[in-house]
Symmetry: C2
Subunit: 395 residues, 2 copies
Amino acid sequence: MDQPSVQLSHRIQGVAGSAIRALFKHSARPDVISFAGGNPGSFALPDQQMASLAQQLLKDQGKVLLQYGQTEGYAPLLDLLPGYIADALGAQVSRENLLITTGSMQGLDLLLKVLTNPGDVVLTESPVFLGALQAMHLFQTKVVPVPCDEDGMDMEALERLMQQHKPKLLYTIPTFQNPTGHTLSLGRRQHVAHLAARYGVVVAEDDPYHQLRYDGSPLPTIKTFDTEGWVVLLGSFSKIISPGLRVGFMAGPPALLERCGVCKQCSDVHTANLNQALVAAFLQQGLLAPHVHSLCQRYGSRRDAMLDALAGVGGISHYTRPQGGLFVFAELAPGLKAEPLFHHALQQGVAFVPGEHFYAEGGHTNTLRLNFSNADEDTISRGIGILAQCLNGLQ
Amino acid sequence: MDQPSVQLSHRIQGVAGSAIRALFKHSARPDVISFAGGNPGSFALPDQQMASLAQQLLKDQGKVLLQYGQTEGYAPLLDLLPGYIADALGAQVSRENLLITTGSMQGLDLLLKVLTNPGDVVLTESPVFLGALQAMHLFQTKVVPVPCDEDGMDMEALERLMQQHKPKLLYTIPTFQNPTGHTLSLGRRQHVAHLAARYGVVVAEDDPYHQLRYDGSPLPTIKTFDTEGWVVLLGSFSKIISPGLRVGFMAGPPALLERCGVCKQCSDVHTANLNQALVAAFLQQGLLAPHVHSLCQRYGSRRDAMLDALAGVGGISHYTRPQGGLFVFAELAPGLKAEPLFHHALQQGVAFVPGEHFYAEGGHTNTLRLNFSNADEDTISRGIGILAQCLNGLQ
């Protein structure tokens, strides 16, 4: 029953499936130690709390929750978000600055829809989250990488690229970036907000890992320094409550969000009410703060286990030391490539993501992304040990 | 904090918000009798059943449900759908022909993404579901209406338009169409499948009302007659279980659905697992058949109440008599317009949707869509009575 000759759109031609999601199929094998993906650890998913919240919510408000909802979001969650955003992310927004999304990925999809035409330039860190790159390609935008160091994007380069390309959008993950784990410094955050207003570039600030900080002091979002409404904060509950619920939000200027809302009507109409109500109840009952505290303790210990294990590995020339988030990014010694290592390691029962997929410009075949949230400390040591043996075999 | 001068994409310029969703804000007023919207009646939402299913599912499988899921869908729902589709809709599909969507609206969004370039022609019934029209405009396609009668699309006209325009897509709601309530006849269903294969046109068969039949015999879907894989069935649980859960599906050729899946990864990654699991449990425990039976009895009685009430109304020259679904479509007598009636009726506490919004080609300012699922029989009689008085005042 397959179609012989259906003619596809220009936008979809040449867009591959997500390498990460294809890898899931391998890494989901129970015998594989997975450093691929960006899954929360199983302990981090509040299943028993959600079971009783869901029952209560459906019992008391099921007629509302199972009915159609408003595109902008479920009112009790919209009421709670300004307080949450101020406390957790340091930005002042009000209710009319909000649109609830079906995961924060949808926020980027909506911004690309509303802002870009084919051929328009989008600036972004390089390397960067593969799903975001894929969305940019789907909208036929020209992705121009911004050079980065350990403190995030290079500000001189960013200004020069804004002048040169007149981009529609800057996409950035400023805190514990995916895949590098790097964090944009405070001064640079202020400067990005300034440059956005100066050059008229909308900033998509994707900040899902913000609260997963294991060392150092919290930094305010770029949005905090946005006085003129050029920054759209993409928030997510995927990494701190549950990715399976698919609840995120956009915080930005009302006129722009109204247009995003029209696009959302034409896509999924609204985000499922029950899922929004579960997040609202979790916030409202004060369950999030202790939950995040416990996540940070355990994820911090897993990060330490990974950094300790990496310290002794021959064949890895460099790796990042993130203060939070879910990922370490590593470089192999000259002459070694991540792709053959990937296949060899998978045979030995260890999965990761070869880093080249995260680069818009390609190359960097000697890099790899290692996730540390989804395995316990012993498993991490064992997995990195297997990786070290595989590297030995390749040298 | 609003943006002074953000430059929007071509696709979003000129796309208005959905008139229906704007009307929700009026019609949600508790003092308004709403014949607008397409909401299930409150009785139709199985809140207590869902409360206990949700608790059980999260208690037993919460760690899976709250984690990331597969883009193609939650395995137990994918396992159940072929049997459901065969029983309820009459089409034979297998698991690799399926992609779960966040409501069936997302199915159209994904098809437009994968198939159309700006300027491509999409054929559709006229009048047709406003959300679908809006999605077509957002993708900058050229919408060409197919003339219809009481048995749905005119087959000679459809073939001529396929020859003339080489469309990428035909969008149709064959059963109890929105907004007319008309149903495509059996012979025409076969013929649409034949024409699609002959002219190489993908058919988006949107069939959310299929099971809401109050008279007459069920008809198989167009998909049932699709031997070559040109028909994509867009299915929905919004009208028979809950719209607030946002769970639908696409059934079509695997290669096309794989491309739709790539687009879905870049939009909402996957449909929320809990919501899919709730639908799967509802099907698996045999709760759907008795639920649909009860919906049909009560909705049928509400439809009868509306048709009875309309029988005596001066100023309405014609109205449809649907065998199922949620809507009656009416025409006002010469010289009367639906827009002033709408404003006058809303002041008197009755809402509906002026029909002109459903026509791609505009005009038809003397038509209106009346929903009968969301008010009980007495309220329907009272509401149509108020409408009759308003019409009197306008004549």
